[in-house]
């Protein structure tokens, strides 16, 4: 400690500890603790706070998890987010692989810039762009109808198609980047050696490339799933009343001033994300230190 004192001085140390402490406590831990506390208490008018009815209970969670309507949406959010993750992985893997194998560094750089540009556009606007294509009178329905594939517009928005397509589009980059980083460090000689030894292309990928990319794969899947499950703007714009997302339930409770209920929903969302992380790490047999680099 004395070396730290000579290094930073009293003022410097005071700054470092106060700033980090305030950040941890006031911006992160206390709000989280109060929110968890809210989740386990009933929604009461302020006069009843601290009164006999203000006790810890699981009632909020019972509503979140046992109510038929909420249950459907919760499960929908899970399977749809898993689907988004899988689709995103399928779409991004070839791109990340091609990019990582690109030998001309200038070309790879331009491709990377071209990849990043769409993601600098605000998430809301990206969802809006898809809304223009997928809405009831949107471009896709016009084209499909004029080609005679369908006789009346298909309701992409209320049939969950809009949300899934939009989520895949919105979070692609978070799948590509970790995959690319992992694949870039793969020695190309390994791939050549496997090919020279007669391995078909799918064996090369399954036995050589994918095992090497595992940490990046886990990272991409976890981040994509969490962004998808926690997304709010995309379901709001690309989902109709017939395809609600779990986060929209949180917002509805927040708007209805039932913050206790909202906190319980939020708590379930965070737990869901944690469970998903554990499952992916178990499935791919990676450790946290492999992923978070």
């Amino acid at each position: 400690m004395s070396s730290a004192l000579t290094r930073f001085g009293r003022l410097g140390l005071a700054y470092i500890f106060t700033a980090t402490g305030l950040w941890l406590l006031v911006l992160m831990l206390l709000p989280l603790i109060v929110t968890i506390d809210y989740a386990f208490r009933p929604f009461l008018p302020p006069v009843d706070w601290g009164g006999p009815n203000d006790r810890y209970t699981f009632d909020n969670f019972a509503v979140v998890l046992l109510n038929k309507f909420n249950q459907t949406i919760f499960l929908k959010t899970i399977w749809a987010s898993v689907l988004v993750t899988v689709l995103s992985l399928a779409a991004c893997y070839p791109v990340a692989y091609t990019l990582a194998r690109e030998k001309r560094s200038g070309r790879a750089r331009w491709l990377a810039i071209a990849l990043i540009i769409p993601f600098l556009v605000n998430e809301l606007l990206r969802a809006f762009a898809w809304q223009l294509l997928l809405s009831y009178k949107g471009l896709f329905n016009q084209v499909l109808m004029s080609l005679g594939f369908i006789s009346e517009p298909f309701d992409f928005i209320n049939k969950n198609v809009g949300v899934i397509v939009g989520l895949v589009y919105t979070y692609l980059l978070f799948m590509i980047l970790p995959l690319y980083t992992a694949l870039e460090s793969l020695d190309p000689n390994l791939v050549d050696a496997a090919r020279d030894l007669g391995a078909p292309w799918w064996r090369i990928h399954w036995d050589v490339v994918l095992p090497h990319a595992k940490p990046g794969l886990a990272n991409g899947c976890i981040v994509t799933f969490m962004l998808a499950a926690g997304s709010f703007a995309v379901p709001q714009l690309l989902g109709g009343t017939g395809s609600l997302w779990f986060t929209q339930l949180i917002y509805n409770q927040f708007n209805a001033i039932n913050w206790n209920m909202g906190a319980a929903y939020a708590f379930c969302l965070v737990i869901l994300c944690l469970v998903f992380i554990v499952i992916v790490m178990w499935l791919l047999r990676v450790r946290l230190s492999d992923i978070a680099r």
Binding site: G12, T20, V34, P118, L132, G230, Q236, T247, V270
Partner: protein
């Protein structure tokens, strides 16, 4: 074999082309629809070229107000996040004690937390602790809780390659800790500072989820856009989108050029020093 390889390469290239079309086509469609005379944002039917919707957007006072709030929030987030992130980075880079792993996990956790949970907990906490209801200041606090982490990670990456003997030398030569910070550490951190400021501002400017829950009746640009998209969409919003994309591209381009320029300068400087060393 040759044929298979060529076929494979063709497929890869075709896929890449399709992929980029998928990335860009929706955005081009959205931009193009801003110039259509139609009263709803679409390209079909095309009713003729117009700049009318840009004028409509330009005259919307709420838009300018939202833009102002976004700048205010963005600047406040930059100041706060840099302050907190730098402190965290200095602590993490020097801390060798046990508990470092736990502290690191705690400080990194906010970027993994869903944005709406951060927003909700910020709103609940400040309402309960200080009867403060949502306003732009709360949005600053909510956003900073995770944007500080990004700043910290940027600083930490730079500090990892820092030669600590430089600081020790300065201290041995009688510099005060404050002088060391301002003349040795901070100049070394300057590129990281540059990136952290840019990233923090962009993150704040783009943020919707956390802001929505903590901002109350104030409006940042994303909140304004979301409001416009919910009721009665006109191509004016496409015009706003168009302007925002243009601004982002310009900012990104100048950022990239500035980086290239600095790299070139530092390279030619090191080459000069190398020449001098060789000739002496």
């Amino acid at each position: 074999m040759m044929l298979m390889e060529r076929l494979g390469r063709f497929c890869a290239r075709a896929y890449l082309g399709l992929f980029f079309a998928y990335l860009f086509a929706p955005l081009f469609y959205m931009i193009a629809a801003a110039f259509n005379r139609s009263s709803v944002p679409t390209l079909s039917p095309w009713r003729g070229f117009t700049l009318h919707w840009f004028a409509v957007a330009w005259q919307d006072d709420r838009l300018w107000q939202a833009l102002g709030t976004s700048f205010l929030v963005g600047c406040a987030v930059v100041v706060l996040s840099i302050t907190l992130g730098l402190a965290g980075a200095l602590l993490m880079s020097r801390l060798k004690a046990r508990g470092r792993g736990l502290l690191y996990a705690l400080l990194v956790a906010p970027v993994l937390m869903p944005g709406i949970v951060i927003g909700l907990s910020t709103a609940i906490f400040w309402d309960r602790a200080a009867q403060v209801s949502g306003f732009w200041g709360l949005a600053v606090l909510g956003q900073s809780s995770f944007i500080s982490t990004y700043c910290m990670l940027i600083f930490m990456a730079r500090l990892q390659r820092f030669d600590e003997t430089l600081e020790e030398a300065a201290l041995d030569l009688g510099a005060s800790p404050r002088q060391v910070f301002w003349t040795v550490t901070l100049p070394y951190l300057r590129p990281a500072l540059f990136s952290a400021v840019a990233l923090a501002f962009i993150q704040s400017f783009e943020n919707y989820n956390t802001t929505l829950f903590s901002i109350g009746i104030d409006e940042t640009l994303p909140i304004y856009i979301a409001g416009k998209l919910r009721v009665g969409v006109t191509p004016a919003i496409n015009a706003v989108a168009c302007a925002m994309i243009a601004a982002t591209l310009l900012a990104g381009l100048s950022f990239e050029l500035a980086r290239l320029y600095r790299r070139k300068r530092s390279r030619s400087r090191s080459r000069r020093i190398g020449h001098q060393a060789a000739s002496s």
